[in-house]
Symmetry: C2
Subunit: 343 residues, 2 copies
């Protein structure tokens, strides 16, 4: 569809614009040593590229900037990305070599590394509760009326919830219930817990205790595992350093959206079927506030099943090649780290 020369020019423009954030003119392109054409020729090609929708002009007689379509083409036809210095690679490697033994810490630290290395905002989605199972269940009375329910998952995550004890339930009864749950529900994937509660536990529970119904309601609420899919953000303020966001109003919408955990979670959940590194440019993100942003996501996984997502949010004028290299390395390292832990 595009001639070799057009491709080359488009590439130069995107590269240049990513670096400078200023519209790129024909003269500056022509002056580059690897471009052997005069400004006039470049201009002709640029006019064509604009007509084809790959470039835009902020106003007549300004240079050109890439359109979303232009970025898309750039990303899709990029030379295999390897634009990351060995020193940086080392930073990542030594980080993952360190003994970090709490999942949450690893995720949080990864977010920090990502945002520091890229100078963009990083968004990490914690391990999917979906693919983990119950390791242990416990109910611990705090006083006569309340207790803490503790759920330990196979990955070592601990979730807890304070619940009210139905009046009249004795300590020994509670113990029986806990034992029953442990015998029946251990190793059941978290997302199946509730259905199992009714299919396997409910009947037996009826024989054990007189407060069958109340207890069932409590247990139901406990196992309603809020899928504690934590979202970790780092470097949100990096957004502010980008010249395209020097206007506070624009940045406000973005930061507001970043504070909305549920929305963020939805955006970060990988679209089924897709794998590897995904790039959503400008309006490809279906959120208005991100119309001038690009979101790059990758998933990390355990035994082939994706556990969570890492993401980088920046302006559409983003260092795609660089960010994508970094993301690939980190997602892979996360994956291997997890497999070392839990296999």
């Amino acid at each position: 569809m595009l001639t070799e020369r057009q491709r080359m020019i488009l590439n130069v423009i995107v590269d240049d614009y990513i670096r400078s954030a200023e519209p790129v003119g024909s003269r500056s392109i022509s002056k580059r040593p690897d471009v052997g054409y005069s400004p006039a020729t470049i201009r002709n090609e640029m006019a064509d590229l604009e007509e084809l929708g790959f470039l835009e002009q902020p106003h007549t007689s300004a240079g050109r900037i890439p359109s979303h379509k232009g970025y898309r083409y750039y990303v899709d036809h990029m030379t295999p990305w390897n634009s990351i210095a060995p020193a940086e690679l080392n930073t990542i490697r030594t980080f993952f070599a360190e003994k970090l033994n709490v999942m949450e810490q690893v995720i949080q630290q990864s977010a920090m590394i990502l945002s520091h290395m890229t100078n963009y905002t990083s968004i990490l989605l914690g391990p999917e509760v979906f693919h983990t199972s119950l390791r242990h269940f416990q109910l611990l009375p705090l006083n006569e009326t309340t207790a803490v329910a503790i759920i330990v998952t196979s990955t070592g995550q601990v979730e807890n919830k304070t619940v009210a004890i139905p009046a009249g339930v004795s300590v020994s009864e509670m113990e029986k219930v806990v034992n029953l749950l442990n015998s029946k529900l251990v190793n059941v994937p978290l997302f199946k817990l509730k259905s199992r509660l009714y299919s396997e536990v409910a009947q037996e529970l009826e024989r054990y205790t007189s407060h069958y119904e109340e207890l069932l309601i409590v247990l139901d609420s406990v196992l309603d595992s809020e899928h504690d899919h934590q979202v970790y953000l780092s470097g949100t303020t990096n957004m502010l350093t980008q010249p395209e966001f020097k206007d506070v109003d624009k940045v406000k919408d973005i930061l507001d959206l970043l504070a909305e955990t549920p929305t963020l979670m939805k955006m970060m959940t990988p679209t089924a079927g897709e794998s590897g590194i995904q790039v959503r440019i400008g309006t490809e993100n279906d959120h208005q506030a991100f119309a001038n942003c690009s979101l790059i996501t990758a998933t990390y996984s355990l035994e082939g099943e994706s556990l969570g997502t890492i993401g980088i949010l920046g302006p559409t004028r983003m260092e795609y090649a660089r960010v994508m290299s970094i993301m690939e390395i980190i997602s892979k390292d996360l994956t291997t780290l997890l497999s070392h832990w839990y296999k």
Copy 2:
């Protein structure tokens, strides 16, 4: 020190400037129905107030704006604050009337309420681990080499840490250790755990197990309770709506500081001896980035001991009276809520 009239004029200026964010001129003051003086008289008084350091002039022939000293005087001599509508009070009351049974949720929701009602940034410091004690200790093997240590506190908080099991320690040995810890350490305040570990547990541990030293190291690290003093932020982007921060560069430093949890914790820790609502205006915050901000803090407590802090960060031009009323109500309601729970 100030005459009645000067006090009145200062008050009017601060009120006006809080509302409009524009320098206040003599004419506009004179026009207010409750002020019976001509602009000229006001001007004379304003000149005096400026000389005394209560007012500032952004430039010659502009109106006056309050200096830090002016705000300080305003806050210290404010008429008892009650500037909060009954409807708003209701919002708070119904919130605290709802059955919220997880501490963390309460804190987080309180942060939301605070930032929403004030349109400033709210900062909440979670309950001090200092004043809570151990309720239960548990060690749960995940596989041959790792285990999760779970600490439940008297307030129902659950903290967990994944640890490596020293090679050669059997399951039955672990059980003994756990039992020992529970018998010796339950009801000990968290911050005393480590010293007790050595004073009371260590010797007996030596008799129980052959891997005395390795285990002690592990337990030490577990009880090194990271005092999980969480900081909850809400409404950080409200900072961006203030006209004084329409310049991105200024706001960046503030947001960066807000992302630095340790610094924030230090700022929010109440200075010993002080109690009630504290106001730090402008440079009274010893952080450069907050030179144009005011931080209002209050503590919530249980049985007279302060558990945590709630804070509001806004521009120096802040609705002090309103914010202070809201903070007082919420800190008191938090206090009573806690006492209902844990008494």
